[in-house]
């Protein structure tokens, strides 16, 4: 099922300043990810999961080592190039949804398409499709404060998927959801992964998420402790 490599990570080290000293969050990571993977970084808090996603998502840069995402070397991207990479190829799903509270569901999902200068007709078609995938058609005019946690996360997934990105990065996407909602969300993401061959990378320590992963990379103290492929 998986094919071409879209992410290569070689000798990734990430250090953060802590007062006068430094804290090393990632200590020499080497990994490859292919198109269509449904993989996740798992491990306890502070193991470096979110830092990995931030660097792959070009929101942060490596202290040393090489990270290449869709042929872009993250460490040497300008701010504008990094913004372009995120705008065109990456989708983000956050633990606390990060929806625009004053915008409607439709406007939230439409935002990435506005950035990509799609015409109004194209935007309408794509947003409507995304809302149908996630079962949000009856919430078109609602605003995030009027939605449940599960609905908010579905809006966030629709926003991440609407532009059909190559890669979706999801940081603890089920942390604020109950079990039923978590399974619904994960099923939706799995379905989108299979349908559009979008690569999904998770950072999680939630067993429900882990049970859906086809590849599980266990991080411990900034290192890869185990990298296992799970056959479903």
């Amino acid at each position: 099922m998986e094919d071409s490599v879209i992410i290569t990570i070689d000798g990734l080290v990430k250090k953060f300043p802590m007062g006068k000293s430094e804290f090393t969050a990632l200590k020499g990571i080497d990994l490859r990810f292919s198109q269509g993977e449904f993989a996740g970084f798992v491990g306890p808090s502070g193991s470096g999961k979110t830092t990995m996603l931030n660097i792959i998502g070009s929101l942060d840069i490596p202290s040393s080592g090489q990270v290449t995402v869709l042929d872009h070397s993250i460490g040497s991207l300008t701010q504008k190039d990094a913004a372009n990479l995120r705008k065109r190829n990456l989708g983000f799903i956050f633990q606390s949804y990060n929806l625009f509270a004053v915008h409607t569901v439709y406007e939230n999902i439409e935002f990435p398409l506005l950035l990509l200068n799609y015409s109004a007709a194209e935007r309408k078609k794509m947003v409507t499709e995304a809302m149908e995938w996630l079962g949000l058609t009856d919430k078109i005019k609602s605003k995030p404060p009027q939605l449940s946690g599960g609905e908010c996360q579905r809006v966030a997934i629709a926003r991440a998927m609407v532009k059909r990105p190559s890669l979706v990065l999801a940081d603890e996407p089920t942390a604020n959801l109950d079990a039923a909602n978590s399974h619904n969300i994960l099923k939706s993401m799995e379905q989108l992964n299979r349908e559009f061959r979008t690569t999904f990378l998770f950072a999680t320590h939630d067993d429900k998420v882990i049970s859906y992963l086809r590849r599980k990379i266990s991080l411990e103290d900034g290192r890869v402790a185990k990298d296992e492929t799970i056959s479903n």
Binding site: A83, N98, E107
Partner: protein, 392 residues
């Protein structure tokens, strides 16, 4: 830019009541600034109008020795009224005034006054000269301003002894009766001025047919040069007031800047609070593909849009208010004469297109700046920190 405008509009409309509260406060600032500056401009304008109506008309001829700033010239600064002015004086479009020094003794005290003789039938000045036609037994009818009446504790009907020196240098005295106390905002017309009928004063001084000043009310008429008389145009006569206004304008501009700064502080505060409260949102914009410059642009446009909406709202309710104020004026709740300066009880604001456009432009520019600065600062931060809402 188009995207920034679209997003800013959505953010403002989406924020609902919060947006409208900001817009209402800002629109109120617009209105107060324009109204207050209008009142101050109106006050300046009124000073010139009152001076014209009460003191200088549209211009004057001065006897060549007359110097209003040197009382020693008054004794000799008189001359026969030029025959060239006779026709206009007869028509009431020119008015001779005779000025002399005198002393009055209200309640046994001594007070130097400038005695001015004016025609009771004159119409050029707003002075209630008709009251000088009152027949008073055993006294000369006189009128005084309310400021002087207050200082001397006098009122209409009071009698007071006036002493003067005639053309031959002989001192003489007579009793005058105050037939009217008038209210005026021009100190030079009020303080230390005692008005008597022109004919009477001419007789008292032995200067029949003479005057110190001849005032006209039409500057369009061409008049010949008259030997022994110096022409003073309205521009020359108001030059001191113009200079005063120029100096005062610098002071009022300072007040204008303070008012604008106060309005801007409110906007700045709102924007800083809003931007720091919205740092997660800013992090999300960046994660979804906004550049930092686009984030700064969005918040700057958003701030400026507040000013645009405020200007529109101000226009909606402010224009009728400003127009109404210009018509009925603003009457001060206390006696303006208590202030010790020339100020009318009712001030009529005067607004110029420059004032309105300038205020709108300045507020929009400064609003854009106070929106730009904090968003620039937050957009510089690490997006991962912004996403977590950790920026302090």
């Amino acid at each position: 830019m188009k995207l920034a405008i679209k997003m800013a509009y959505r953010n403002l409309v989406g924020a609902g009541l919060r947006t409208w509260l900001n817009v209402i406060v800002l629109s109120f600032s617009f209105l107060v600034i324009i109204w207050m500056k209008g009142i101050i401009t109106g006050w300046d304008h009124q000073a010139k109008v009152d001076m014209t109506n009460w003191e200088i008309g549209e211009g004057q001829y001065w006897q060549e020795d007359y110097d209003p700033y040197d009382p020693f010239t008054f004794t000799d600064s008189h001359a026969p009224i030029p025959p060239e002015f006779s026709e206009e004086i007869a028509n009431g479009t020119m008015e001779p005034v005779l000025i002399a020094q005198g002393t009055i003794y209200p309640q046994g005290r001594l007070q130097s006054v400038m005695v001015r003789g004016i025609d009771p039938k004159q119409t050029i000045f707003m002075l209630p000269a008709g009251k000088l036609d009152t027949v008073v037994a055993g006294a000369i009818p006189a009128i005084i301003g309310s400021g002087m009446a207050k200082n001397l504790k006098m009122e209409a009907g009071d009698r007071v002894m006036v002493q003067w020196r005639d053309a031959d240098g002989t001192f003489d005295a007579s009793e005058v009766c105050i037939t009217e106390v008038f209210t005026v905002n021009v100190p030079a017309v009020d303080q230390g001025q005692l008005y008597l009928p022109l004919d009477t004063l001419q007789s008292m001084l032995g200067l029949k047919g003479e005057a110190t000043i001849v005032t006209y009310d039409n500057s369009e008429v061409s008049r010949p040069l008259v030997d022994g008389w110096v022409h003073k145009s309205k521009t020359e006569l108001t030059s001191a007031v113009d200079e005063l206004i120029r100096v005062k304008t610098a002071g009022t501009s300072f007040l204008y800047i303070i008012l604008i700064t106060l309005a801007m502080l409110a906007i700045f505060d709102t924007q800083v609070l809003s931007i720091f409260r919205r740092q997660k949102e800013i992090g999300t914009y960046i994660a979804l593909g906004y550049t930092r410059r686009q984030v700064v642009g969005l918040f700057t446009v958003e701030g400026t849009m507040y000013a645009v909406l405020a200007a529109l709202l101000s226009a909606a309710y402010g224009l009728p208010f400003l127009a109404w104020q210009a018509r009925v004026g603003w009457t001060m709740p206390m006696d303006a004469s208590e202030f010790g300066m020339a100020i009318a009880q009712t001030l009529y604001p005067v607004y110029s297109a420059g004032l309105v456009a300038g205020t709108v432009l300045i507020i929009m520019t400064v609003t854009a700046l106070v929106s730009y600065w904090p968003s620039r600062r937050i957009a510089k931060m690490n997006p991962t920190e912004a996403l977590r809402g950790r920026i302090q």
